[in-house]
Symmetry: C2
Subunit: 194 residues, 2 copies
DNA sequence: CGATTCACTTACCAAGTGGTAAGTTTTTGT
DNA sequence: ACAAAAACTTACCACTTGGTAAGTGAATCG
């Protein structure tokens, strides 16, 4: 699948010949279905965005509120990062390519982003999440989770081998990190920063 | 400079001819100094790691303790992300390339990582930072800051244009996020980010 | 049945790719 | 001053790139 190659090796590093060879067909068979490599990228973007939304959007509709739902999303992201690392890698690759590709993935994911920020806003209104800019909170949480889930090399640099067991530990630590960062302090005298 | 191109466009997307044209020389002038494109990459890795260490390592030696020093590092990362985005982008690119390149940057940055985790451990011992795995804390903080500083497309997706003013806001929000995540509850009384 | 459309493949192509070989200018050491 | 080494350039080369043109066998349709 093109998504896997683009996500792990990068768009420019994967030739149509490579892709075709993996699929056991010829490059021209690909160019028959998509008019150019760039058109193929657009199709892959749409597909990746769809899969991401399917993975995560459900968590926003789940029962439970406040922290428990955030926890649910984080667990899903970790699951995706473990089972489909190329999906998250692909989104990052698109960000780097920039231009039209970024606009496309942004547009594709807009409904999900919109739902997530709306959800955060409501939780803040009800005092279950520390008040702050919901968009920035989403970015912080996103990049924190994505980092812990995908920055394999960085993890290795701090002496953490990406084994299954360490992933469980990592997820627990991260949830604790996020919990501390996001959840509004209950104690009356404990003042939130800022 | 090769670092800039590799960091923004990706290693495979930048040809030696492109690089040479930017520098106003010929491709073979590059291949005279480095035996291959790959050898050039190694040199750029070493240089990038050196510059990163110069930028950040000083913050670990600064006066102040606990949160104030973390804040100092975050401010430095933001400064680098604003002024030299290609540097952080390059590190991410190396992670994606993987293999020997990753090992090299890991080895280059090891002294800094070592100092940072040691610092965290001490702060935890003295109760100024919430106790947790220091390596994972570093990764979480690293990816959170790097995300807020560099994930321009993601920020755009949540409706944040990367202007100078928004960066200041973003940094303040992020410091607040990190403060909540890292600082031990007991230490909340005295120091909160402005 | 025959024609047409579909889903390819084979055969190319011009423009690049990293890299080599050999020649040329510039700097350096004595 | 002059040779030698350094720092290039020009000229190539084999190979890969995305993309085009034309042909081919199988399915579909009237």
């Amino acid at each position: 699948m093109a998504l896997e190659s683009f996500g792990t090796k990068g768009f420019d590093s994967v030739s149509l010949d490579d892709l075709a060879a993996d699929l056991g067909i010829t490059k021209q068979a690909i160019l028959y279905h998509w008019s150019s490599k760039r058109a193929l990228l657009d199709a892959v973007i749409d597909r990746a965005a769809l899969e991401l939304i399917i993975e995560f959007d459900g968590a926003l509709s789940e029962d439970g509120s406040g922290w428990s739902r955030v926890e649910s999303i984080v667990r899903r992201i970790f699951r995706v990062a473990m089972r489909r690392p190329e999906l998250l890698g692909f989104i990052r690759e698109i960000s780097r390519i920039g231009g039209d590709a970024s606009l496309r993935v942004t547009a594709d994911l807009e409904p999900f982003v919109s739902r997530a920020t709306t959800y955060f806003e409501r939780e803040m209104d009800e005092g279950r999440i520390r008040r702050c800019d919901s968009g920035l909170l989403l970015v912080s949480a996103y990049s924190t989770v994505l980092g812990a889930a995908t920055e394999v090399e960085v993890l290795r640099a701090v002496g953490i081998e990406p084994t299954l067991r360490s992933t469980v530990v990592r997820r627990r630590e991260l949830l604790s990190f996020l919990h501390a960062a996001m959840v509004a302090p209950q104690a009356l005298n404990a003042q939130a920063p800022r």
